[in-house]
């Protein structure tokens, strides 16, 4: 059995709801994880299955919810992409900085650009938006347009 299939088997054995996990090509797995089970799956993948690298976290605007994909990798080159989502009215996820200190920047990006609320994220500077960015404006949300910045301060965008 290939390493990818072994990983899938191991995941499904432990978490039956992961049976829809796909293997689109060599060294790539994509799995959908319900938010309530995410911490458990993440912990298992990192601690028991040796996915010791967090490449990054991708945030998505999925309409009614915010999606989050945690891209975990192993030294052997296999990437396990764990997707979860939270409703926009309550876009709360837990920090993974306890496992990966570098997740700090990735999680702040989710907060700044998409409006996610990351529980447990330590005090720190925001990233990547500047301090004077208007509150409540999340540029990566699909309904955000750059014209919304015009209301704040003088309109300094070039005409046309």
């Amino acid at each position: 059995m290939s390493e990818e299939n072994e990983i899938k088997s191991q995941l499904v054995e432990k978490f039956g709801f992961l049976n829809e996990t796909t293997i689109p090509r060599a060294r790539r797995l994509f799995a959908d994880v319900p938010l309530g089970k995410f911490s458990e799956v993440f912990d298992y993948a990192v601690k028991q299955m040796k996915f010791s690298i967090l490449c990054t976290i991708t945030g998505l605007d999925e309409g009614a919810s915010l999606g989050f994909i945690y891209h975990l990798a192993r030294p052997s080159g296999i990437v396990l992409n764990l997707h979860t989502k939270a409703p926009k009215e309550k876009p709360v996820i837990k920090t993974v900085t306890g496992y990966f200190p570098a997740a700090d920047a990735y999680e702040r990006e989710l907060a700044d650009l998409l409006g996610a609320k990351v529980e447990g994220l330590p005090e720190g500077n925001r990233y990547p938006l500047p301090d004077d960015w208007p509150a409540g404006q999340y540029p990566l949300r699909k309904d955000w347009k750059v014209e919304m910045l015009d209301g704040k301060g003088a309109n300094e965008n070039a005409t046309s």
Binding site: D132, E156, N157, A158
Partner: protein
């Protein structure tokens, strides 16, 4: 080559002092600016000195598009320069915003914010283009009376 010799002689007397400022884009232009200082291109033969503070500079060599957060700093640096002062916009981003014009945090080229004397396009502007632009600026200075540096 007579004009070039005239410029070289003039530049040796005048020795313009330059401050380089990057408004935070991809750095390709900055690297080409530094490359102009290295032996292959050697812009220092025109007597140009790279300075660390705007208060001593004649020429602001600027790369990158203007982002929201860099705009005020750019104005501040320009204001700190003594008269007469000149601005060289290096690269397409500095000229017009370039590929980043469509990005929400980018306002446009340097001339949206401060007056520009010379536009050097290119993505990035090559060292040869940079030298050409700077020499053209020096030549134009020769035509305009410039107050002696104290």
């Amino acid at each position: 080559m007579a004009l070039l010799k005239k410029i070289v002689t003039w530049a040796r007397i005048k020795s313009p002092w330059i401050i380089h400022f990057n408004t935070g884009a991809c750095n390709a232009c900055d690297i080409e600016i530094i490359a102009s200082l290295t032996p292959t291109f050697d812009i220092e033969r025109f007597g140009i000195l790279l300075k660390g503070t705007p208060r001593h500079a004649d020429v602001l060599v600027c790369s990158g598009p203007v982002t929201r957060q860099i705009k005020d700093r750019l104005i501040r640096i320009y204001e700190q320069m003594p008269e007469p002062k000149f601005v060289v916009a290096v690269g397409t981003c500095a000229c017009s915003g370039g590929v980043f014009k469509s990005c929400y945090n980018v306002k446009g080229g340097i001339n949206e914010v401060i007056p520009v004397s010379v536009f050097i396009p290119g993505c990035p502007a090559s060292p040869k283009a940079i030298i050409d632009g700077v020499v053209k600026l020096l030549a134009s200075l020769e035509e305009t009376p410039v107050a002696a540096k104290g």
